[in-house]
């Protein structure tokens, strides 16, 4: 499982993003924000501050949703990603771009979204994982999950 993670490189992941977005992310990091805060802010940004007539389409919780799906892929054996995990295991000598594409496409499909919409969020999450290491990242993501609200009959 971890072999493909060792193929991930932060610089090559960031090259998959538009230069304007990379500059924004770097600038936000320089101003003291963590990648989790940046991902959260970027997730709500497209529809922020406007009564755009189509703004209701954009899912503002994309960061949290993508993070949870990546947690299921990387930190658990959840059966819904069994095929993806097998595919990732086979990819021993591939670039970060190929891994990114595989993960983004599969997660997008699970979330009912067009492939490509979540790529920046997957990149940011994978960068946080590369920086922290898999084990630490899994603990961090698990502990940052919003508390489940109690279901009353």
């Amino acid at each position: 499982m971890d072999n493909w993670i060792s193929n991930i490189n932060e610089d090559t992941l960031m090259k998959e993003l538009p230069p304007s977005l990379v500059a924004t992310i770097r600038g936000m990091e320089t101003s003291g924000l963590g990648l989790d805060q940046i991902g959260q802010m970027l997730s709500v940004n497209p529809a922020l501050g406007l009564a755009t007539k189509g703004a209701k389409a954009w899912p503002n919780d994309l960061w949290q949703k993508t993070k949870e799906e990546l947690r299921l892929i990387i930190c658990t054996d959840n059966p819904k990603y069994i095929v993806l995990r097998d595919d990732l295991k086979k990819e021993t000598n591939v670039t970060s771009a190929v891994l990114l594409s595989l993960i983004s496409t599969t997660v997008s499909s699970q979330l009912g979204l067009a492939a490509g919409l979540i790529t920046p969020f997957v990149v940011l999450l994978m960068v946080t994982m590369v920086r922290a290491g898999k084990e630490a990242w899994c603990i961090q993501v698990q502990s940052s999950k919003p508390a489940q609200t109690e279901q009353k009959p």
Binding site: K15, E16, L17, P18, P19, S20, L21, T24, G27, M28, S31, L33, M41, L42, S43, N45, P46, A47, G49, L50, A51, T52, K53, G54, A55, K56, A57, W58, P59, A97, S108, S109, L111, G112, L113, A114, A115, G116, L117, T119, P120
Partner: protein, 222 residues
């Protein structure tokens, strides 16, 4: 040189407008707003209206039957600027439009034209691209965090459902200077059928377009 503006849609719903920003052999790059996409947008494409997306030509309506939907790949998105770059297979050569080089190339008072498909698909068979002149009334910098922001232009234009993603063209030289995002609206507006009521202000925001050529170059290189 005509700027080709097309509706962005799924087989069941029009999402917004977009415009051809680049062409290289067999590939077309269309730019639109990111926020028009949401759930159930996985089979989005560009609609080819009878006028070919050239709003200077006579446009037929109502259109009976369905229009061709060309599948696209969402190849690159930038949530900070609210831009999405779509790539479609396309053989016919298209002259790409020109863009402003810097956000400071436009000024308050400049006359611009907004080309969009307002209400496209909301009325059966209605796909009219409209060419609407207006003015830049303010230059903005939408701040994400202190010192990090996105340049915008504010226009005297009333946005409608379907307008998001349309190009804003400087009238003096035909360069694209912005991508329409949406309008400012009073808070607590009521939505009926997804349309905000009492929100028809003519204070409309655009993303400044100078970032587009750089992103397209990056996209085509990759």
């Amino acid at each position: 040189m005509a700027i080709i503006v097309v509706p962005i849609a799924t087989p069941t719903k029009v999402l917004g407008s977009g415009f051809v920003a680049a062409w290289k052999p067999d590939k077309l790059v269309v730019v639109t707003c990111l926020h028009i996409f949401g759930e159930n947008s996985s089979n989005a494409g560009i609609v080819i209206p009878p006028n070919g997306g050239d709003c200077s030509r006579v446009q037929l309506y109502p259109i009976s039957g369905s229009l061709p939907l060309v599948p696209v790949k969402i190849a690159m998105v930038d949530p900070s600027t609210d831009l999405a770059f779509l790539v479609a297979n396309w053989k016919e050569i298209i002259d790409p439009p020109m863009f402003i080089d810097s956000p400071d190339d436009v000024h308050v008072g400049d006359e611009v034209v907004v080309i969009t498909y307002p209400f496209a698909g909301d009325v059966s068979g209605y796909f009219l691209a409209t060419w609407t002149p207006c003015y830049i009334t303010a230059l903005g910098r939408r701040e994400l965090v202190p010192n990090i922001g996105v340049r915008e232009q504010i226009l005297t234009y009333q946005a409608h459902p379907g307008s998001s993603g349309g190009p804003v063209v400087r009238r003096s030289d035909g360069r694209i200077c912005g991508v329409l995002r949406g309008n400012l609206a009073p808070p607590a507006s009521i939505f009926v059928g997804g349309v905000p009521i009492g929100a028809d202000s003519s204070v409309t925001f655009t993303t400044s377009a100078e970032v587009i050529p750089q992103i397209i170059n990056h996209l085509l290189r990759n």
